[in-house]
Symmetry: C2
Subunit: 259 residues, 2 copies
DNA sequence: CGCCCTGTTGAATCTGGTCAAACTAAGTGG
DNA sequence: CCACTTAGTTTGACCAGATTCAACAGGGCG
């Protein structure tokens, strides 16, 4: 189940490949006792059906969730009930980490489709961090990444118009699929038009209208939830950003603690 | 300069009170050698005048900045030059932490007024983290807090109208001042109308118009950059959120590593 | 003293939201 | 197998909130 794959970067990818914990990118020198330990932490698996909730805002922080398959949306809401989707999450990502400060989840996570996750008990997780000090460091990197992502979204929400938002969104999905070695030009949208609109801060009708416009212009071809990006160049122009696939799945930088 | 103040929470506030490093909330048992060490890290002080830049996007991650006095704005920009302010920062806050993943600053930080900061060398910082393991944990908490804050902003940008945004903004400033034992109902805005508008995703003219409307309604009194909040209740209603000052400056939770 | 930057106010315009209705696909149960 | 429901999506018409453009006021600073 758990195997070691030494990377030239000086890290080990611990897998359970499709269980997000491997993202923690443990440093070299993990012995078999450690791997056994890790195995213990990822044992708890669980399925969620479309619409089922992983955690709710205010609940005690008991699990970190690693997505194995399927997809999840995370969202927060105003006091008067309007909600904002803050992210869509795919296999290999960890959920719930940012509850570490308040010890309570600050938002809610819902399955978009039938989804399999590993529940990692927080206590175990902290124990793990004690045994393998660089776990904290890796968590820092992951959260730093999330902050970066959220800032990108803030830029989008604050400064872009509806068309740019949708084009940006499609490109960002494309990049994420490319990173995971799926087709960057053909994929399924697991979220509804309503969810997309909510995430991008526009009405679902607007999403629909702009999708049809993109289609008329030949930039994309859409068939219900399946989409083909015909012209990434033009899409980048519409998003007003440059298209690049430079980012790697898990940037395995050298860990400063292994000096 | 550095003094120890044992808190009932099991933490020590290291100060240099007005130097944000104390936010790291070091665990008990810091000996004099450690405090001396810490003193070394916070030695580098520096002043920035209004408009001067602390760091730019893409620059190598060399310093973490702790604000001692004044205020700073952080911002990112689209490829075509539009920029989005992602935060205003006041004394006691740390800047630059989220460069930890890519080793490069992802945005830019600019002084809003004459501002004094401690520059903490990243190398020193990592050394510190090695010596005092809970530093990483405290960084996690700070980043978790930032994520929470950014999510709040995303909610605002995605779902609130101009009036709600401004009311929310004033309340959030009020809370921050209250936390630091300044008046929650009377303070100076160190940022321009343009900056406020940019941050909230609305035009500066809209900021101006709504400020005058609030003033006509008697909710606030504004004299250039000085503002008095006359009616927090009504302001909360306008923001459509409940007013509370429950949050504390530095939530000194028990550190799980000091078991 | 006059310039410049910031902020305020007005008027015209437009993007995107809201409301309403039709349509499609996928179930669901008789 | 078909009527019926339901959720998701698309499209049209209308309208409101916010932007844009423009002019102007006033403080602060050289």
């Amino acid at each position: 189940m758990v195997r070691q794959a030494v990377q030239e970067s000086g890290c080990i990818a611990v897998s359970c490949q499709n269980c997000g914990l491997y993202q923690l990118c443990l440093p070299m020198g993990l012995d078999s006792a450690d791997t056994a330990l890790l195995d213990r932490y990822v044992r708890r698996k669980r399925m969620f059906k479309r619409g089922e909730v992983l955690y709710r805002a205010g609940e005690k922080f008991t699990f970190v969730f690693a997505i194995r398959s399927g997809s999840i949306k995370t969202h927060i809401s105003t006091d008067d009930g309007r909600l904002q989707i803050t992210g869509f999450h795919v296999p290999g990502e960890l959920l719930g980490l940012n509850a570490i400060d308040e010890k309570r989840y600050n938002g809610e996570a819902t399955a978009l489709e039938t989804t399999s996750v590993c529940e990692i008990s927080v206590d175990c997780f902290e124990e793990l961090a004690l045994q393998i000090p660089s776990v904290h460091y890796q968590m820092l990197r992951m959260m730093s990444k999330e902050i970066r992502h959220n800032q990108g979204l803030m830029l989008l929400l604050g400064k872009k118009n509806a068309e740019e938002r949708l084009a940006t969104y499609l490109l960002s999905l494309s990049r994420r699929f490319a990173m995971r070695n799926y087709s960057p030009t053909q994929f399924n949208l697991s979220m509804s038009r309503g969810d997309i609109g909510n995430y991008l801060g526009i009405a679902e009708e607007t999403v629909s209208r702009i999708f049809t416009r993109f289609q008329e212009e030949g930039v994309v071809a859409i068939e219900r939830r399946h989409i083909i990006l015909n012209d990434l160049e033009r899409l980048s122009a519409l998003a007003r950003e440059s298209y690049s696939t430079t980012a790697q799945v898990i940037p395995l930088l050298r860990n400063p603690h292994s000096r």
